[in-house]
């Protein structure tokens, strides 16, 4: 089988769909990290929201209500992280690890208590794709780029907006200052706690929408245990990989999507590479690229460090 234009189009579409939840989650994570909070709990946030979204769908039957619920669950779960990390100054990595395990257990328990047994959930076209007129008729890449879920388009818009906000607005200045010099921001009268708290909530919102995308768009309204399957960790890596820049983060998530898509397309067209090796490839690729890119990978200087007023 040759890798012709049609295959390429399919491949690209697939890559973008696979990238979408990573993109949304990593954009959320980016905001946290820009304020100095390393949110390893992203995986857990996505998982909670993925569950919440399906619950919302089950309760209302309206797909977009499910998306909304996902976002709200994301915010709610993030509030727990925000209280521990931003208010109580708990260690971000430790809490993140604990939070992810908690999410795994709690969502599984909640699923048993509240969701219809998943094998009975009918196939739902939960959130349908939006086919942009004219643009989606462009040969080769048209369908790939312009016949995607509205949520993905929202993600792209958010990426550009975040870029502009961080770079050009007062809010961006405040966010960056908290991540680059929390003590200085505090002395300038900015509440580090409040900024980090809200940033984590924002992360929760986007991680929530990412989780909702995963269940409502990518899985058609089904929640199974551990449905995020490590995407949250991947999104954390993508933020660092994209150097805390929303645009680069967007490209990085598409890159990961490509690697992901390649492995399935590769199998389908009979590439005789062992699947685990293909599955490994995005990580290997990212690692190599990361090493080659080299030194200038310093993120926001306060990242991972709880703020204490008067600290030297």
């Amino acid at each position: 089988m040759v890798f012709d234009a049609v295959t390429f189009g399919l491949f690209l579409a697939s890559a973008i769909r696979l990238a979408a939840p990573i993109l949304l989650a990593s954009l959320g994570e980016l905001v946290s990290e820009r304020t100095g909070v390393l949110n390893i709990g992203l995986e857990g946030l996505m998982l909670f929201a993925a569950f919440g979204a399906v619950l919302g769908l089950q309760l209302t039957g309206v797909p977009y209500a499910g998306v909304l619920m996902g976002g709200l669950w994301g915010i709610g779960a993030a509030a727990v992280l925000a209280i521990t990390v931003a208010v109580l100054r708990a260690d971000q990595i430790v809490v993140g690890i604990g939070f992810n395990i908690l999410a795994l257990g709690l969502t599984s328990l909640l699923r048993e208590l509240s969701l219809d047994p998943a094998y009975l959930v009918p196939s739902l076209r939960a959130v349908s794709m939006l086919r942009l007129p004219y643009l989606s008729d462009i040969p080769v890449v048209g369908r790939a780029l312009f016949s995607q879920s509205p949520i993905l388009y929202a993600g792209v818009v958010i990426a550009v907006m975040l870029w502009a906000v961080i770079r050009y607005t007062r809010l961006g200045l405040v966010i960056r200052s908290v991540g680059e010099g929390a003590g200085a921001a505090d002395a300038a009268g900015i509440s580090v706690t409040a900024v980090r708290f809200s940033a984590i909530l924002f992360t929760g919102l986007l991680a929530g929408i990412a989780g909702a995308y995963l269940t409502l768009v990518a899985s058609g309204g089904i929640f199974v245990d551990n449905i995020t399957g490590g995407r949250g960790y991947l999104a954390v890596a993508v933020v660092i990989f994209g150097r805390w820049n929303p645009i680069l983060v967007m490209l990085a998530s598409v890159l990961f999507g490509c690697a992901d898509a390649l492995q399935y397309q590769g199998q389908a067209i009979g590439l005789s590479i062992s699947p685990p090796l293909l599955l490994m490839s995005p990580f290997l690729l990212a690692l190599i690229a990361w090493v080659l890119l080299g030194k200038s990978n310093a993120g926001p200087s306060e990242i991972g460090i709880p703020f204490l007023r008067g600290q030297k």
């Binding site: 200045l173 003590g183 200085a184 505090d186 002395a187 300038a188 900015i190 509440s191 200087s301 008067g310």
Partner: protein
């Protein structure tokens, strides 16, 4: 009758640890148009006092009056909106931001409009008499300019009371004069200024009012008038110390050359001139002072001497060297918190950090704790480090006591050379005196001591020979009898080609 105070502290008490008050019943008034100096030993509570005013800490008892009205500062934001600004000892600037971004960050909404573009900011800075390039990244500015940004922050915020915590420790004499010029200007415009310092001359020369705190208690608060230095010292320390007596010099016999630098070059950086053909020699039994304005290669000189970096060219010869080629020397770095000490390891380990793997403290890679403890205990008594035990961490000690540990370690070194860099920065009068005495005694006992400092007075008091570092060059070598003015001239390149630009 004098004007009514702008800000008052009423019976403020504060303790971090129950039962150990840091401030007790402090009542103080800060008036407009006045520079108000606050003096006290290390750990007396000066910074805590300022921090309470600025909302960084909350008092346990007592409160703050603003124009006679009770106010509560829960956070710096409250203080800022009450027109109080603070320039911290360790600047509160976002190092990776530009000057403009830092100013915009701090400015309240109403003022922010006027700071939209860099040109406006530059103009405003000029108007205040504090010119600075708004587009520079703060971390690439010399400390004196960073401080200027801090002052601008307060002024742009229309602060009426500006608090300074040890502002002059990072300035050279010329800069200090200019700094007080600015303060006087600020005060005469009707603002109140508070300055914490350890340098009494500054107080006598520039302040109108002086308060002394000792161990958390207010000892005095009165106009400077014609009070004398010795009065202040007595109030600060609780006893008399003569700070002008020359340090006794013994011997003076020329010992062998321990250390020789020749034609050392180190590439310049944004904040420093690097070194350009710097040369000096150091003999045992003498103290050599390296005078100079910070940023003229001091950092690089210390790093080369300490073996932290290789010079781009030139030779370093040491009579005694480690296996890896570093000169065998006791080192007192500039930053005691990050370079001098491991703040969270016990005092005992810190005292012996340089020898920890050597006999008799270790045998085949294994530590011998009894010997370490015995030696550390001995050093502690010898150096009078005031700590509960050698097993506590230095983090809990006062700056003076921390410095004693660093110094004790450097001296304990069997090394014939001691290299100290800004050894008294931030130390109170008594502690500084103590450090200088120890260094002089070491030289008298035959060590070779090199002191790099921007504090000309202490250099003059302690040194046998003085080398001036300017723009990375060692310009001229003088004796301690040379006048202060002449050395100052050298430090600013006066005798060199006058056209050469200060870095």
């Amino acid at each position: 009758m004098r004007s009514r105070p702008f800000v008052e502290l009423t019976a403020v008490s504060k303790s971090f640890v129950p039962g150990h008050p840091v401030l007790e019943d402090i009542t103080l008034a800060f008036r407009r148009g006045e520079i108000h100096a606050v003096l006290g030993e290390n750990g007396a509570g000066k910074s805590t006092l300022l921090n309470i005013l600025f909302g960084m800490h909350q008092p346990d008892m007592g409160g703050i009056l603003l124009d006679g009205r009770q106010v509560v500062h829960r956070s710096p934001a409250d203080a800022i909106s009450n027109r109080i600004g603070m320039v911290h000892q360790h600047f509160k600037l976002v190092a990776s931001f530009t000057v403009a971004e830092n100013l915009r960050l701090a400015a309240p909404a109403t003022i922010r409009k006027t700071l939209r573009n860099d040109a406006d900011i530059a103009r405003i800075a000029d108007d205040f008499g504090l010119p600075v390039d708004p587009s520079t990244i703060v971390s690439s500015l010399p400390l004196s300019l960073q401080q200027r940004v801090e002052i601008l922050k307060a002024l742009i915020n229309r602060a009426e009371l500006i608090l300074f915590d040890e502002p002059t420790t990072i300035l050279n004499p010329a800069e200090i004069d200019a700094f007080y010029g600015v303060l006087t200007q600020i005060a005469t415009e009707g603002r109140a200024v508070v300055v914490v310092t350890h340098h009494l001359e500054e107080v006598l020369d520039h302040a109108q009012h002086v308060s002394v705190i000792r161990r958390g208690k207010l000892i005095s608060s009165a106009p400077v008038g014609n009070r004398k230095r010795s009065d202040l010292v007595r109030e600060i320390v609780g006893k008399d110390i003569d700070l002008t007596a020359p340090l006794e010099r013994e011997g003076g016999a020329e010992g062998p050359i321990e250390l020789r630098l020749e034609n050392i070059d180190v590439a310049p950086t944004q904040s420093s001139s690097g070194l350009r053909g710097a040369s000096l020699t150091l003999r045992s039994g003498e103290v050599v002072g390296v005078a100079g304005v910070e940023g003229n290669g001091q950092r690089e000189l210390f790093e080369v001497l300490a073996g932290l970096r290789k010079p781009d060219s030139g030779t370093v010869e040491a009579r005694h060297a480690h296996k890896d080629g570093r000169a065998f020397a006791g080192l007192v770095p500039e930053d005691r918190h990050h370079e001098g000490l491991v703040l969270d390891l016990p005092v005992s380990i810190n005292l012996l950090l340089n020898k920890i793997g050597q006999t008799p403290y270790a045998k085949r890679g294994r530590l011998i704790h009894s010997r370490i403890n015995a030696a550390a205990e001995h050093m502690r008594t010898q150096s009078d480090v005031r700590t509960r035990s050698i097993h506590v961490t230095p983090r809990t000690l006062s700056g003076g006591n921390q410095q004693k540990i660093v110094l004790a370690r450097a001296m304990n070194e069997d090394a014939p050379v001691v290299i100290v860099y800004q050894p008294t920065r931030g130390l109170d009068v008594a502690a500084s005196e103590d450090v200088l005495k120890k260094l002089r005694l070491a030289a008298n006992a035959g060590k070779a001591v090199l002191i790099i400092s921007s504090n000309l007075d202490e250099i003059i008091r302690i040194s046998d020979r003085i080398v001036v570092l300017f723009a990375g060059r060692t310009v001229g070598e003088v004796t301690s009898t040379t006048s202060r003015e002449d050395i100052g001239d050298l430090m600013t390149g006066g005798r060199q080609t006058r056209t050469e630009h200060r870095s």
